[in-house]
Symmetry: C2
Subunit: 252 residues, 2 copies
């Protein structure tokens, strides 16, 4: 701990429980720990840090509330493990249900929003359509064992998908299956960008996060076989429940 | 704004500048904006939101301090654009200097730390060495145009790299080049995981972030041709300066 007496008495600026929280955060972020691992018991931590057990509990409680730790009844407190490992090499949307099942979970989804809208600025540019062109915009919430982990928003040029309706997407159908079967469009993954974003109020509510919390943001442009953009998708992923994974091996 | 009068006078709970900050965050996170884009002027925002211009400035100042926006002198305020787009398909470490140069930047790096250590718990497990086996552990800070964007920490079984010394890595030499040329080890990329982490004090100081700020965390296990693990690496990436990119196209 950094509150060791240094000879000169000084006002402690950081509450002890916050220092302990920082200590645990550093511990679990270090190379000796991985998601799913059990952390030392509160008693062991209290002894190790010469701290009050209630103070340690407050730090742990706070990390549980932040979603970094999970209490598992009698099996102790563990580092929250991602429940969904999204492959980056393969397409990231079509397979969500399959990815969740492969991880032993039960997938679910809900259509949150479906509308016709007009293309503006960057969206028009990305989809190679004129400003003001009609778009179909829809948003789906994905769950694993009823826990929401991802919100995906898709933008498609309306003239490429005539008649596409909310009902078509209600049953959690694959968009790419629909594009292929009904519209004869074979899609090809384009550039995918994975970065950090911050969730807005709606996203926070749906993913059970605090507004402004950091999220994993995936942006993806999908094209048809001729290289014409067919979908621009943004995907807001829960920071603890999702990890992106690549397993592609190659000489480096 | 959500402060519209609803008939019942109530205490506003959120300061107006924070509401404006939230508004701008939502705006720039929306599909109409992308990194590098200029946001509306403070005057335009003040008019649009019927807010005081000083209040808008406070919100913008705060987003600049958070690293989400950048003021570019006379060219207005822009959404901070990542300066380093790290390919996920290719190996992510060897090429850092090349990746930075490909993006038009000048790469740099600094060896922060070099030590012999003992393998514990998860690290031993990951590297397939017994607990207590000797490891070489080193940490490098990478910069783009002198701006730090990434801290990489590598763990290697010491018996695979006899004689490896800090000097070998001081000149920013490629570890994989060294492994190949000196030790005859050809490396192969293994599973890479990209998720969200939170920076500790040291990382915050080096990357000019607040302690506890969200960072992009990459974890990577590198193996030799026989499939034996040779390096476990964790990479802490600046949340605004780095984005992971995959361009691999395939039928989806």
């Amino acid at each position: 701990m950094s509150t060791d007496a240094t000879g000169t008495p000084a006002q402690p600026r950081v509450p002890v429980w916050l220092e302990i929280r920082r200590y645990i955060q550093d511990l679990i972020a270090g190379p000796g720990y991985a998601p799913g691992d059990r952390i030392p018991s509160e008693r062991a931590l209290a002894e190790q840090l010469a701290a009050n057990r209630m103070t340690v509990r407050k730090a742990v409680d706070s990390l549980v509330a932040m979603g970094l730790l999970e209490r598992n009844g009698t099996s102790g407190t563990r580092i929250t493990a991602p429940r969904v490992a999204r492959p980056v090499d393969a397409h990231t949307s079509q397979g969500i249900a399959r990815i969740v099942r492969a991880g032993g979970g039960t997938p679910g989804n809900k259509l949150l929003h479906f509308e016709q809208a007009r293309a503006t600025g960057k969206i028009a540019e990305r989809l190679h359509v004129p400003e003001g062109a009609e778009l179909v915009v829809f948003r789906r919430l994905w769950t694993v064992n009823d826990t929401p982990f991802c919100i995906e928003t898709s933008h498609l040029p309306a003239d490429r998908v005539p008649g596409l309706a909310a009902e078509d997407l209600m049953a959690g159908q694959s968009l790419y299956g629909l594009l292929h079967d009904r519209y004869g469009i074979t899609t090809t993954g384009g550039e995918r960008l994975i970065g950090i974003g911050f969730c807005n109020d709606m996203e926070a509510r749906l993913l059970h996060l605090k507004p402004g919390a950091a999220i994993l943001l995936l942006r993806l442009l999908v094209s048809d076989e001729a290289g014409r953009p067919i979908e621009y998708m943004t995907s807001v992923n829960h920071p603890q429940l999702v990890v992106f994974r690549t397993t592609k091996a190659g000489a480096i």
